[in-house]
């Protein structure tokens, strides 16, 4: 290691400023990233993290400011220039060609000549070397779409290393990974760091920052508000810096006072479109004034169970009772009129029409209601007034019912759905993934609303793949594995116990 370069920071950003029209995405950002370290950048959705990294990777150009790599100022005109400067990026949504092999993906853009043959041989050798050096195991001849997500991400990392990246930017890398895959990723990142690579990790998950980074910088509303040594800070301090006020990371809730059974499911079996049994003879009850959580690894039948109860998917057999009335096979519109509200798992797919304006989404599913119009006509004034009230009550930002829904952040989109469903004052509320892709401030808010529903004597059925969320909200926890409820625990059950049940090992 030469003395002159080892002391220079890998990256220095000086006074970076970027506007998109009226939005001031990055305000005078200064950042120094030490060589051979893992540097976390944390902030809520829309804080400007991705914009900053896109500037570093040549996707956007800063309006002002300077970028220095290893002490030398450079201009990064496009991705090609970033790659040449030794910067590699692992995008949140993988930039892979799905029907190509690993090898073809790695070579793309760095083929080594007009013809492929020579490049293929050297790429194969280089991949083998990277695999040996960093423990990045992938079969070079495997087709991307047949690989698990964790391996696909490894290919993204390999792509960057193959191009000689010394600085690796990872944008929300664990969002799509299972806990085991995330652990593996962290292991790889540590090896990379120990071999002298510099890693920038963008995330909104505090836990990851604490687990893996050496240094952490916090962004809020386009500004870099603080940089700390990870060892010298706490989750609470970071959360406060991110949101700009004190945040309750743990939900406070009183004792549950369960009343009569409002939702009951008996021997329910649900098949998916291919005829595979996804929910297998499940029975459960949810009482007034309690939250029942369903834990499980994604894909073990929770989604289908929710959809069957919400009337979206017809059950193959079994019964569902809503306040004593049999409702299996009844459609979603009628279920809503009977007092059941549904916050779907995927707000983009089922909860919202992203091209609609906010006020239109705020009545979706309740548009036949007398309050919103008569006969075939909608009463737009009444709807917008209603939407404005919900916006105020749920602090949806920006507070503009005429804005296209796609232009709201994930957290605010979710609040639109939550407001729509909860404000109908249903007796039974079923919720899937209430806070997926939602920032900390909004998570706290949504959790409070859910607890309020319980305290108001409603029955709440909650499905989430975030075990922390299930544990902090639920009064009772059911664990689903391979379509069956494999056990029931109290809300105080330990993570370990539930984890083993979710893996199908213990009951």
């Amino acid at each position: 290691m030469s003395l002159d370069s080892s002391n220079e920071p890998a990256i220095e950003l000086v006074g970076i400023d970027k506007r998109f029209g009226a939005v001031h995405a990055n305000k005078n950002i200064n950042l120094t990233v030490a060589k051979g370290s893992i540097h976390g950048i944390i902030g809520e959705n829309g804080a400007g993290k991705s914009t900053l990294m896109s500037i570093l990777y040549g996707f956007y150009h800063a309006d002002q400011g300077e970028i220095r790599i290893s002490g030398k100022p450079i201009t990064i005109r496009d991705s090609q220039a970033a790659i040449a400067a030794g910067i590699g990026m692992v995008h949140q949504h993988f930039m892979l060609v799905e029907n190509f092999t690993v090898l073809e993906n790695v070579m793309l853009g760095a083929e080594g000549g007009q013809l492929l043959r020579k490049g293929v041989a050297s790429a194969r050798r280089e991949l083998k070397r990277l695999e040996d050096d960093y423990g990045l195991e992938v079969d070079p001849d495997a087709v991307i779409e047949e690989l698990p997500v964790g391996s696909q991400q490894r290919v993204e990392i390999l792509k960057a290393l193959y191009r000689g990246a010394e600085i690796l930017i990872l944008d929300e890398p664990t969002g799509v990974l299972t806990p085991a895959e995330a652990d593996h990723l962290f292991k790889v990142l540590r090896v990379l760091r120990d071999q002298g690579k510099t890693i920038i990790l963008i995330t909104h998950k505090l836990r990851e920052i604490m687990a893996i980074t050496d240094t952490v910088s916090v962004m809020r509303r386009g500004e870099m508000v603080a940089t700390r040594k990870t060892a010298e800070t706490t989750v609470e301090e970071l959360a406060e810096l991110m949101v700009g006020r004190r945040v309750l990371l743990r939900v406070e809730k009183g004792e549950a006072k369960p009343g009569k059974v409002l939702l009951s499911v008996r021997n329910l079996t649900v098949k998916d479109s291919r005829g595979v049994t996804m929910v297998d003879d499940v029975s459960l009850e949810v009482r007034a004034g309690e939250i029942v959580g369903i834990a499980g690894v994604a894909g073990n039948g929770q989604s289908e169970l929710l959809e069957a109860i919400a009337g979206i998917r017809k059950p193959a057999s079994g019964e569902i009772f809503l306040d004593g009335k049999p409702v299996a096979g009844v459609g979603p519109a009628e279920l809503r009129s009977l007092g059941l509200a549904h916050i779907p798992e995927d707000r983009h797919h089922m909860g919202l029409v992203l091209k609609f304006e906010e006020y239109e989404n705020s009545i979706l599913g309740y548009h036949r209601d007398q309050r919103y119009g008569r006969g075939a006509l909608l009463d737009l004034d009444a709807i917008r007034k209603d939407a404005e009230e919900k916006i105020a009550k749920y602090d949806i930002r920006p507070p503009n019912p005429r804005l296209r829904t796609a232009n709201f952040s994930g957290g605010n989109q979710q609040k639109i759905v939550v407001a729509r469903e909860i404000e109908r004052d249903p007796n039974v509320l079923i919720i899937g993934q209430p806070t997926r892709g939602v920032d900390i401030g909004a998570i706290e808010f949504i959790h409070k609303r859910i607890i309020e529903m319980r305290d108001a004597g409603k029955a709440v059925l909650l499905v989430s793949v975030e075990l922390d969320e299930i544990r902090s909200l639920s009064d009772r926890i059911l664990v689903m594995f391979a379509g069956k409820v494999v056990g029931e625990k109290s809300g105080e059950a330990g993570e370990q116990t539930l984890g083993l049940m979710m893996a199908g090992i213990a009951a």
Binding site: A82, N99, E104, L108, L116
Partner: protein, 323 residues
Amino acid sequence: MDYFDILISILGSAIRLSVPLLFTALAGLFSERAGIFDIGLEGKMLASAFASACVAYWTGNAWLGLLAGIGISIVFSLVHGFASITNRGNQIVSGVALNFVAAGLTIVLGQAWFNQGGRTGQVPAEGRFSSIVLPGADAVRDVPIIGPLYANVISGNNILTYIAFLMVPVSWWVLYRTRFGLRLRAVGENPGAVDTAGISVSWLRYRALIVAGFLCGFSGTYLAIAQSAAFINNMSAGKGYIALAALIFAKWKPVPVMLACLLFGFLDAFANFMQGKSVPLLGEVPVQIFQALPYILTCVLLAGFIGIARPPKAGGVPYTKER
């Protein structure tokens, strides 16, 4: 004529009828594998047929005719690219517009220049691509089976026919063995991957369209001055669409594209042969039934009898950088 002679004559005719389909389908292959739907193949074919007929008529040189056909087809491709790549317009609309432009323009210009109701003048023999007799064709003619097959099906075609079939391995090689091919296939699946690798998505797609224009120029030229000796109104007669169907049927792969085009060519030749002939048990069947066969087959195939045809994933979607 015994059955073997009939078969040989149908096969020979099938080859000749499949050539324009093959050029056009390969053109579509390059365009669509790069993520640009090319419904304008029909128009390109028509325009290049007209241009090659005009130039061949005026100069009496078939090669200049070919050059004109290729030139105009590339121009059409670039217009398509300007609308759908540079300005991110809808690729179907742009393609359909080109088809209308070609259909209208060829008639108007043809009438203005030649006054023959949309026909161009008769192209002299030296302005056409005439058939080439391969060496030894006459010598082996009397060898059973192989002889007539060589002499009447493989030999005796014009140079464009041989180029068409040569283009199949060439296309395969370009797509799967060159850097250009790798990038082209990638940009049709995930332009984001190409962009982040530091390659220009637009320039890559333009080059794919230029290749498509180049190949499509051959097909129009073939129609006008190889198969016939003049341009006739609407001479492509939907072959561009049939080629597109063949492309989908072949799942966007070069060798299957050739087989699909041969199948369509064969059905066409069969329909021609059955004109006025009686079918055993049925008697004389209206010729329209046979003429409809390729189109019926197209519908049946596209309706899903070929299994899942997985088009290039980014096909039809203009590329915009995401935040």
